[in-house]
């Protein structure tokens, strides 16, 4: 309804727009700059992969979208988040409660801690259904819906009276997914949904998320550090480093284009390839910069194998070609990549 009157330049129906987002964690001792000017958008039914190593700010970005940052320490310093054209940051508490669960839902990273140990899984699933009960379901219909959601994630509905400790890790992750799916959200954020699971279960859970996305036509943000998952699920990819998006593009751009951000190259260099015989993998040397004292210039410069003088002095601009954006000084003269005037 609102989407019709949104910005003219949006070609597709944008369901989510993040504009120049800055998030900080403030404690008495220090200020951690977790997200530093992130912009991206997501169309209906599209899947975005948010890739980066631990501590890059992926989860923080996701939590900011739902305004679930830790109340006292987590602060959105700048920027805006638009969902279906209206700002999340200006929403009232009531609007936020409607937004959470109904419009956006999140699958959390650790299934062992994200379920309430003293409530049955049935209660935890039915809660979100009854909280967003716009269809006016009766108590029985809500229970039917719980059974339906449980079957959807492959848990026998007879087990809805059981407590989280009675389930294995993979089963618990399915419960977490069931909670997120219960109200058929428009946007699903999956925060490393398979990190805590072993490999065989990983594949099952991923396939389930993909199937559900296709069936329900949801938008999906897949947060991961696994490029394999990205290749399997995502339309677009954003590579995140030290709270910035260093490279954004379609999955094809990220996997096939000739030019990349050196960090993306590093990520690809550190995974084994089946067709090439390599003696050793090439990990990216060094560690991510301390988010309390970020370097001047390019944040990746201390670890960058191609680092030039300018990289240490000035923040890089974004260079774009057909929607493939790279935030790196060294792309100035690359073929066809021109400076992106829209700040990103």
């Amino acid at each position: 309804m609102i989407a019709k009157e949104t910005t003219k330049e949006a070609t597709k129906e944008q369901m989510l727009e993040v504009k120049d987002l800055f998030v900080e964690y403030q404690t008495d001792l220090e200020t951690i700059k977790a997200v530093n000017g992130v912009s991206f958008s997501l169309a209906k039914g599209e899947t975005l992969g948010l890739v980066g190593e631990t501590g890059a700010g992926k989860t923080t970005t996701a939590l900011a979208l739902m305004r679930l940052l830790p109340e006292r320490t987590g602060k959105i310093k700048q920027g805006d988040i638009l969902i279906n054209g209206s700002s999340v940051l200006k929403s009232s508490d009531k609007e936020l409660m409607r937004l959470r669960g109904e419009t956006i839902a999140m699958i959390f990273q650790d299934p062992m801690t994200s379920l309430n140990p003293v409530l049955t899984i049935g209660d935890q699933i039915s809660e979100s259904i009854s909280l967003h009960n716009s269809q006016g379901r009766t108590a029985e219909q809500i229970q039917l819906r719980v059974d339906e959601v449980l079957n959807m994630v492959g848990i026998p509905s007879a087990r809805k009276g059981e407590y989280p400790h009675q389930f294995s890790g993979g089963m618990r992750q399915r419960v977490v997914i069931a909670i997120a799916m219960a109200c058929e959200p428009d946007l699903l954020i999956a925060d490393e949904p398979t990190t805590a699971l072993d490999v065989t279960i990983q594949a099952q859970v991923l396939m389930m998320i993909r199937n559900l996305r296709d069936r329900l036509g949801m938008s999906l943000i897949m947060i991961t550090h696994d490029l394999g998952i990205v290749a399997q699920t995502c339309d677009n990819v954003a590579v995140m480093y030290a709270g910035e998006l260093v490279e954004v593009g379609s999955a094809r751009d990220i996997f096939k284009a000739a030019h990349h951000h050196p960090y993306t190259d590093g990520l690809f260099g550190s995974i084994p390839k089946l067709r090439e015989r390599v003696k050793r993998l090439k990990p990216i040397s060094g560690l991510m910069p301390d988010p309390t004292r970020l370097p001047t210039g390019c944040y990746f410069s201390p670890r960058c194998p191609l680092c030039a003088d300018i990289c240490r002095e000035r923040k890089p601009d974004v260079f774009a070609k057909d929607g493939h954006k790279i935030k790196c000084h060294l792309r100035i003269n690359a073929d066809g990549y021109i400076k992106d005037e829209v700040r990103s």
């Binding site: 006292r72 959470r100 959390f108 994200s114 140990p117 003293v118 909280l131």
Partner: protein
């Protein structure tokens, strides 16, 4: 579950034996004897010897202990008070209700104040609704019970004359002792509830609840409180049992004839059976309350219930 309870009840026996032996030994090896305390300074050597013999105090320590325990086990006989020559069992029966009343009313008062205020301070952390109660609680927790008791006595009995200063015949007599004993306990309870709540609201599942769009009210009361209550139940149980024996100052101050005054008088007069009887009763009571707490756990926390019933989990 039943097997577990039976096992725990059986385990109380060695606890009682250990406590009784320790207390019996302390009473026996400290200087003085019952006869000379009862007969006073003017008594002759023979009279003292004679009385100690009558009381059975002239036998060796171990023999006395074995006789004492055997009497309890075989005849459920707790002996006679050295001083009054009345059966200890009767005195225990008449004193237990007073101690129970004092401790339970105090713990109820403490819960009624401590838990809601504790929740409020945690929810409103770092605001005025947190700092004022927290500082007040700190002051009350630091109050010695006898001093608070004396202040209350001075204000409400002596100056205002609203409440009686001694005795235990009506409920009015319990008002001041319960406040004196309950307020410091409320302070402890509040601080405990606060930290337990703060710990709980940081958990991941609270974030999950918020992510579903649950209103703050339900996040606190439905998701957080039940989890935060688990450690609080322990404190309620253990402190209730402890208050039974910790009420010495209060009982003495308000002349309440409870178990604590029985122990204190018994120690003064070297009245071994009195001290032993009251101590054993308190020990058994404490053990049972702690067991009760463990059973209550099972109803709050499904994980613990699963452990008792021996099923998976």
């Amino acid at each position: 579950m039943i097997r577990y309870v039976v096992k725990r009840v059986i385990l109380i026996i060695p606890i009682l034996l250990g406590v009784s032996f320790l207390v019996f030994a302390i009473l026996s090896f400290t200087p003085g004897d019952p006869a000379s305390t009862i007969l006073g300074n003017g008594a002759t050597e023979e009279a003292i010897k004679q009385l100690n013999h009558e009381l059975g105090y002239d036998l060796p320590f171990l023999q006395r202990y074995v006789i004492y325990i055997t009497d309890i086990v075989t005849k459920f006989d707790f002996g006679f008070s050295y001083r009054t020559r009345l059966p200890i069992a009767n005195e225990l029966v008449s004193r237990l209700p007073i101690s129970l009343k004092l401790a339970s009313l105090s713990i109820i008062l403490a819960c009624l104040i401590g838990i809601p205020v504790g929740i409020m301070t945690a929810v409103k952390q770092y605001t005025m609704f947190d700092t004022v109660p927290t500082i007040t609680a700190l002051i009350f927790a630091a109050f010695p019970t006898f001093w608070l008791g004396m202040l209350l006595l001075y204000a409400f009995s002596l100056k205002l004359g609203i409440f009686p200063s001694y005795g235990a015949s009506t409920w009015v007599h319990f008002v001041l002792p319960v406040i004196g004993l309950g307020l410091p306990e409320a302070a402890t309870m509040m601080r405990f509830t606060r930290s337990s709540m703060l710990e709980t609201v940081r958990q991941d599942y609270i974030r999950t609840a918020r992510s579903k769009g649950a209103p703050e009210r339900s996040v606190i009361w439905k998701h957080a409180l039940k989890n935060a209550l688990i450690p609080i139940v322990t404190i309620i149980g253990v402190d209730f049992a402890a208050l039974m024996g910790d009420a010495c100052a209060t009982e003495v101050l308000y002349s309440l004839p409870g178990l604590c005054t029985m122990i204190i008088n018994g120690i003064r007069q070297k009245d071994v059976p009195s001290v032993m009887g009251a101590t054993l009763l308190l020990t058994a009571f404490c053990s049972l309350v702690v067991l009760l707490v463990d059973i209550v756990y099972a109803f709050i926390d499904p994980r613990i219930k699963a452990k008792y019933s021996g099923s998976r989990g």
